[in-house]
């Protein structure tokens, strides 16, 4: 076939056969195509993110003045509960796995779809149902327990819609479990010929580790919330000492889930960053096996450190010491990842496109988040900073500085594949930088606030804390811009962006071999893996200008 005809042919097939071609509501709501399900998740979590971020915006405004003049204490408490619950369970946990994971896992494995496509759609419906319950609980008055639902406040004292909110989280948990199962089976069963375990992409490894945690940890959350609701509704004494229960038991159970959940919220981000670093330095990730296994090590060790949330809860000194030690250990695999990413850059051929800027930002912010995690693992220091803004700053560096940066980086990286079009690159780069700066201005002052002693969840505060709160609020407004901009230009690019072509980044991997956007069945003919992952050719030592 002459080349010209080939191009026309390709265009033709792109126009008629992409997964986005059919655009009826029915075709979306009944789809079993993993790519469409991924997009359904994307639209849903954007809604939750917007609601949760608005709550944070009001909180930050309220904290501009020491007396908390904007909202009343009760409203404030409902706002931070809403922020936490929605961000954790309805944005962060599903963000990378359910959006990018859904879209990419089969593509990266060279498969047609996930192992259980209908189950996948069901997971989304369950998620929406759970989210609906949570939003309903917010609309009829909200919940004021904090996302941690500590007893006996939640089970006996709070006058808000605790049980309903718990039900929403409980339901959404099943969506996590089903997605995890689906990913595990898919990775085991649907790898393309030649795609052995050690040729898998690192993103796949991290999704696998995440799925193991989702499947093992989420049931514990379900049980814990059920017990709490039983105590609340029928006064079954489990946690409230007035009913013969033990309030610490709740914390043990809750953190047995929620610490691993922290890794649900960061491991997929690490996977994305491995992909970005490799693609934009045109090199295989340094120490592939160590990076891959560190994901599994984190997943397993992550189950053994929950007690570091309870150093001042009257847990025994012995338990405190053990949990402190294990918490230091779990930092090692994360450190290994950071060092390997940096080493990957060595002798690479690096281009600083938007996704790469996000990846570099991730490394910086995640490193600070991880380092301050060591402060919290150190017993005597944690006694002082526990339940202060130091903790808030620490986990936002991991969750927002880490996971959200990775999510944005991944979204930009695979956007050409998802939509078939390029976003405006310059605007993208500026946004990445604005996000990084805004983020640091928002959260760095909170470390200082925390060490100075400002407790978390305070609607009003003594005057000496004002200066850092003002800085933080200023930063938040810049950070907000960093989220609004991509929303605008990514939507814009769907219509006006220039067509992307199959592989705009020149990256390695099955997903870049198929068309953008891919056809419903992903590949024209099933791909075969014949080489290692990231087998980039040796880059030229001479400068390359585009």
């Amino acid at each position: 076939m002459p080349p010209v005809l080939q191009i026309i042919d390709l265009k033709d097939s792109q126009a008629t056969r992409s997964y986005l071609t059919k655009q009826t509501l029915r075709s979306w709501l009944l789809t079993t195509d993993h790519k469409r399900v991924g997009l359904l998740y994307l639209y849903t979590i954007i809604v939750f993110f917007a609601v949760a971020a608005s709550a944070a915006a009001v909180m930050r405004l309220n904290l501009l003045t020491p007396r908390g003049d904007l909202v009343q204490a009760e409203t404030y408490n409902k706002l931070f509960t809403m922020h936490g619950v929605l961000m954790v369970w309805f944005f962060l946990i599903p963000s990378i796995p359910s959006v990018l994971g859904n879209f990419l896992l089969p593509l990266m494995l060279g498969a047609r779809d996930l192992a259980f496509p209908k189950l996948n759609l069901l997971s989304w419906y369950i998620f929406v149902f759970g989210g609906g319950i949570a939003l309903y609980a917010l609309l009829i008055g909200g919940v004021d327990t904090g996302w941690t639902f500590y007893t006996p406040y939640s089970s006996t004292y709070s006058n808000s819609h605790v049980a309903l909110m718990a039900a929403g989280v409980f339901v959404a948990g099943f969506s996590s479990i089903l997605t995890g199962l689906n990913f595990i089976v898919t990775t085991h069963k649907l790898r393309a010929p030649g795609l052995t375990w050690f040729r898998l992409r690192l993103f796949v490894w991290s999704l696998y580790a995440t799925s193991v945690i989702l499947v093992l940890a989420t049931p514990v959350l379900a049980m814990t919330l059920t017990l709490m609701a039983l105590e609340r509704i029928w006064k079954v004494g489990v946690f409230d000492p007035a009913l013969g229960g033990d309030p610490l038991l709740f914390q043990h159970l809750f953190w047995f889930y929620s610490h691993p959940a922290v890794y649900i919220m960061i491991l997929p981000g690490m996977g994305v960053v491995s992909e970005l670093i490799a693609a934009f330095s045109r090199k295989r990730v340094f120490g592939y096996t160590f990076v891959a296994f560190s994901s599994l090590a984190i997943a397993l060790l992550g189950f053994l450190v929950w007690g570091h949330h309870m150093f001042v809860s009257s847990q025994s000194v012995f338990a405190g010491v053990i949990f402190s030690f294990l918490s230091f250990l779990v930092a090692i695999p994360s450190a290994i990842k950071v060092f390997n990413w940096t080493a990957t850059l060595y002798r690479g051929s690096i281009s600083l496109d938007t996704p790469m800027l996000y990846a570099i930002g991730f490394i910086g912010l995640f490193t600070i988040g991880g380092m301050t995690g060591l402060f919290l693992a150190t017993l005597a220091v944690d006694v002082h900073v526990h339940d202060t803004y130091f903790v808030i700053a620490h986990f936002h560096y991991i969750m927002v500085g880490g996971m959200v940066m990775a999510f944005m980086g991944g979204l930009h990286f695979w956007w050409p594949k998802i939509s078939g079009r390029m976003y405006p690159e310059l605007l993208g780069k500026m946004t990445a930088i604005v996000t990084f700066l805004g983020f640091n201005l928002t959260f760095f002052p909170q470390f200082i606030l925390g060490y100075l002693g400002m407790p978390r969840r305070y609607h009003a505060y003594p005057e000496q804390f004002q200066v850092y709160n003002v800085l933080s609020t200023a930063g938040a407004s810049i950070l907000g811009l960093g989220y609004v901009l991509p929303l605008c230009y990514l939507i814009w690019s769907c219509c006006y962006g220039k067509p992307a072509g199959n592989n705009p980044w020149g990256a390695k991997g099955f997903e870049w071999e198929t068309t953008s956007p891919p056809p419903s069945e992903n590949f024209e003919k099933p791909p075969v893996q014949t080489e290692e992952a990231y087998a980039y050719p040796v880059p030229s030592s001479e400068p390359i200008t585009e």
């Binding site: 500590y150 406040y153 290994i336 950071v338 051929s349 017993l379 005597a380 100075l452 804390f465 880059p539």
Partner: protein, 324 residues
């Protein structure tokens, strides 16, 4: 508030009102130094590589090894060694914070939504304010009337949760005269942020003078003794009683054999449970006839009863106000 005032607030460490605060700060500064160095090193190397190997620059790009066991071991073991040192340092201070201090001035703390009620053994009571003498170790014995709170003294770098249904303790030795904040650190409902107060450290003479102010009050142990009679405890727990019940003299701190074969320490937890849940631990050789006082005594009455039982127990009564 004007900008100048705001900027005048800039500080990085809270007041250091005890030696313990100094120890924690030192560890904190070590942590900053170590993690700061590593973070800057990672950032430096990253930026250097980004600049040197950017695509439009000439550089040696002949492929390096794609993996190296010795390198991986090096950058796992070095952090491990540093981590163990930090862990040890942190644990050492934590042990020190966790021991039961000797010769401490005991103060009872009751948290409730949303205030702190404090009580000195000598009988004086305070709300959201705690007066203590300089250089005297103060031991706080704390419990909550409702939900979980946390008694946080940032200037002394200590906090401990305050739970319903059990006693928790922490201690500090004020080494600076002045007022220092008390915060509730564990979210406890609507007015959590208003559950704050202050520690007032006075020198010994001022403290003694402060104790003498206000109405003359019975000591906590004396109030306990009155309750012991008015609640009818003495009807059973006395040599003349018709019911066979153990005498409580010398009980506190002893080891008590139970009917189920266990031997338990007669500490505050035990005595509290004996009064509220008498059926759970029955003293060996006695019948389980003691009624529960669950709904009849409040938290501060419990403190009084226990203090009384303690006072008739130990060889040297722990009377507490240091006379100096």
């Amino acid at each position: 508030m004007s900008w100048a005032l705001l900027i005048a607030q800039i500080q990085f460490l809270p007041d250091q009102a005890s030696k313990m605060a100094g120890r924690v700060d030192l560890l904190f500064i070590y942590l900053i130094a170590i993690t700061g160095t590593v973070t800057l090193a990672v950032a430096g190397v990253t930026l250097f590589f980004l600049a040197k190997y950017r695509r439009n620059a000439a550089a040696d790009r002949s492929p390096p090894a794609s993996s190296s066991l010795p390198v991986e071991i090096t950058w796992s073991v070095i952090p491990l060694v540093i981590f163990i040192a930090l862990f040890g340092f942190g644990a050492k201070i934590y042990f020190r914070e966790s021991v039961d201090p000797r010769d401490a001035l005991e103060v009872h703390v009751i948290g409730k939504q949303w205030m702190w009620k404090l009580e000195h053994l000598q009988g004086k009571r305070e709300i959201n304010e705690l007066h203590v003498p300089l250089d005297q170790t103060v031991k706080l014995v704390m419990t909550s009337q409702d939900v979980i709170h946390s008694f946080f003294l940032p200037s002394f770098r200590i906090k401990e949760d305050v739970l319903p249904g059990r006693y928790t303790t922490q201690w500090f030795t004020p080494q600076k005269v002045g007022t220092f904040p008390i915060f509730c650190a564990q979210y406890c409902g609507t007015n959590h942020a208003l559950m704050i107060g202050q520690v007032v450290v006075l020198d010994a003479a001022d403290f003694a003078a402060w104790l003498r102010t206000g109405r003359e009050t019975a000591s906590v142990a004396q109030r306990g003794e009155q309750l012991f009679h008015s609640l009818g405890c003495s009807g059973c727990h006395s040599p003349q009683a018709a019911v066979r019940a153990p005498l409580l003299e010398g009980l506190y701190g002893s080891r008590v054999p139970l009917t189920d074969g266990r031997i338990v320490n007669a500490d505050m937890r035990y005595i509290r449970d004996c009064i509220l849940l008498p059926k759970t631990e029955i003293v060996s050789g006695f019948d389980p006839v003691m009624p529960s006082f669950q709904d009849r005594v409040s938290e501060d009455e419990l403190f009084a009863l226990i203090t009384y039982i303690k006072s008739i127990g130990s060889p040297q009564p722990e009377v507490t106000v240091p006379d100096r």
